[in-house]
């Protein structure tokens, strides 16, 4: 059974009480470097509570780097990224998860030395309200009964489910998802899409990096277009069809 999304009552005393329409995450002029190479040149966007936003853009635009900058695994950073009122640039990398941010990396990051269940149980639960193992199996039935298989023996799609599933246990309510559909069979893409819609209905906030526009449109509220380390456009999901030409120009399709 899935739990109900958090009620409005329980949120009354959080920072949102004072800033009704303010964003949960507000990224402003974020710059990032890998060593000497300057990769992000001022990324700005915002994410409201309960929203799914995507970062789209061609290969090398800086989508992954943007996510990595939020959690502090790039070299140097500049700018601000206010999350629940705290600038993530001032938070030590190992403390970001403790604020309820879950990260699903592009390469999935399943540990080969750990079994499926060990991978699933791996991230500590930092906040209350995380899913139980059975709920995660309900969301991703493919993972069921595979407990003792080494994590990396699963198919690519199953590994993706495992990478998402293990974050759901931690109580994270803000999820960074990097290209969950990359190189995955269409059937499994549909299952992941269905799971994301359920998570959204539960009140999760999600940043989705995606190249598959059809998939992005099926879950997102707004899309931010990244190009050469900058956000160059914002398109609401309702306006997506009307702006297809513009979008395809950005993506160079």
């Amino acid at each position: 059974m899935l739990k109900c999304p958090p009620t409005a009552k329980s949120e009354k005393h959080t920072w949102e009480g004072h800033m009704a329409e303010a964003a949960l995450l507000n990224v402003n002029n974020l710059e990032a470097w890998y060593g000497e190479s300057h990769v992000l040149h001022g990324v700005s966007f915002d994410v409201r509570k309960g929203e799914v936003v995507t970062l789209i853009g061609r290969n090398g635009a800086g989508k992954t780097t943007t996510l990595r900058s939020l959690i502090g695994v790039v070299g140097k950073r500049r700018g601000t990224s206010l999350f629940k009122g705290v600038d993530l640039l001032n938070v030590a990398p190992h403390k970001v998860a403790r604020m309820g941010i879950g990260y699903v990396p592009e390469e999935r990051g399943i540990f080969s030395t750990l079994s499926v269940i060990e991978n699933l149980m791996f991230p500590p639960a930092w906040q209350a309200g995380g899913m139980e193992i059975d709920e995660i199996y309900g969301l991703f039935p493919n993972l069921k009964g595979r407990d003792h298989t080494p994590g990396t023996r699963l198919s690519g799609g199953e590994q993706q489910m495992l990478a998402i599933g293990r974050i759901l246990r931690t109580g994270a309510d803000f999820i960074l998802l990097d290209e969950p559909t990359e190189g995955i069979a269409p059937v499994i893409i549909d299952e992941i899409g269905a799971a994301l819609r359920i998570l959204k209905a539960r009140g999760m906030t999600i940043i989705l990096v995606e190249q598959n526009l059809r998939f992005a449109a099926s879950v997102a509220d707004r899309h931010f277009v990244l190009d050469q380390g900058k956000v160059v456009d914002e398109i609401s999901n309702n306006a997506l069809d009307a702006n297809m030409d513009r979008l395809n120009r950005y993506l160079g399709v």
Binding site: I71, V73, P93, H94, K95, V96, A97, R98, Y103, P105, G109, F111, S112, T113, L114, E118, F122, P123, P124, W126, T170
Partner: protein, 295 residues
């Protein structure tokens, strides 16, 4: 008297026992080296120096402060581990992003300086260190007379190696360590303080070396050169077992101790090179080591 290939059985068993004792020390040291390599990506040439420091700490605590054997066996590794914290926090930490070579040179330099300093202060001769009264004497096992202290060394080394192995393979903390070996950035992104984990790992492993040094003191005396003479063999053990394989390091260490003992019995002239001959063979046949997972 029974003989095997012209060697009396009692002599053979005696050498096997000696081999097993050497193997116990190899195991305590190579275990730490393998973990440090796996987790920190550092080839810790200072490991022998920490072993020697453990011996000297035990000697100092016993002869100068009058702490008993059991107290020194506990305190010496803690002191060495604390020194490990300093070395990791102040020096090694800065080199993780760089090539292996830098940390290798750093730890090699530390080893040379520490050994040089101790030679300068204490000279090259060994400091005697008594066997604790509770472990003097021995037991007659029928086929062989086993000095109690030697039996103790083998038992406690095995117990510590197995506990360490279990902690890494079977506990949550061990899962963090294994995962951090694969993908430290991601483990950090899950909220685990990886830098702290690395410091504690280094401290624990050099603490193990310090423990081995304190344990060895009553058998081999305490001298500035004790670390550098054992560490070369220990490196060979780690290469044979496979860098980064913890179980492999333990099994290989004991096996090589025994092979050394057997060589001493049947062909004494070759005993000091036996380990290296095995190493060459392993490198030729299975370059990544006998127990390496990625092999």
């Amino acid at each position: 008297m029974t003989e095997i290939f012209g060697v009396p059985v009692a002599v053979l068993l005696g050498q096997l026992l000696l081999g097993l004792i050497n193997g116990s020390f190899y195991a305590l040291l190579s275990l730490g080296l393998a973990i440090i390599f796996g987790m920190l990506n550092v080839i810790n040439f200072a490991h022998g120096a920490f072993y020697m420091l453990g011996g000297f700490a035990a000697w100092f605590l016993l002869s100068r402060l009058g702490l008993g054997y059991w107290g020194t066996l506990l305190a010496a590794p803690i002191m060495v581990g604390a020194l490990g914290v300093l070395v990791e926090r102040l020096l090694l930490k800065r080199l993780y992003r760089m090539d292996h070579l830098y940390s290798l040179l750093l730890t090699f330099g530390i080893a040379l300086m520490v050994e040089g300093l101790f030679r300068h202060i204490f000279g090259s001769a060994g400091m005697p260190y008594p066997v604790p009264p509770s472990l003097t004497g021995g037991i007659n096992l029928g086929f062989i007379f086993l000095p109690l202290y030697r039996g103790w060394v083998i038992v406690i080394s095995l117990v510590i190696c197995i506990l360490t192995w279990l902690a890494i393979e079977r506990t949550k903390l061990g899962a963090y360590l294994r995962a951090a070996t694969e993908n430290p950035a991601l483990v950090q992104a899950f909220g685990i303080n990886v830098p702290l984990l690395l410091t504690l790992t280094y401290a624990f492993c050099v603490g193990l070396a310090g423990f081995a040094g304190a344990l060895a003191a009553p058998l081999y005396q305490v001298s500035p050169g004790m670390g550098s003479s054992i560490i070369i063999v220990v490196f060979a053990v780690v290469v044979i077992g496979g860098m980064g394989s913890i179980g492999g390091a333990i099994v290989t260490a004991l096996g090589l101790g025994i092979i050394e003992g057997l060589t001493k019995t049947f062909y004494p002239a070759a005993s000091s090179i036996a380990v290296f001959v095995v190493m060459v063979l392993v490198i030729l046949i299975r370059p990544s080591g006998l127990f390496n997972r990625e092999a």
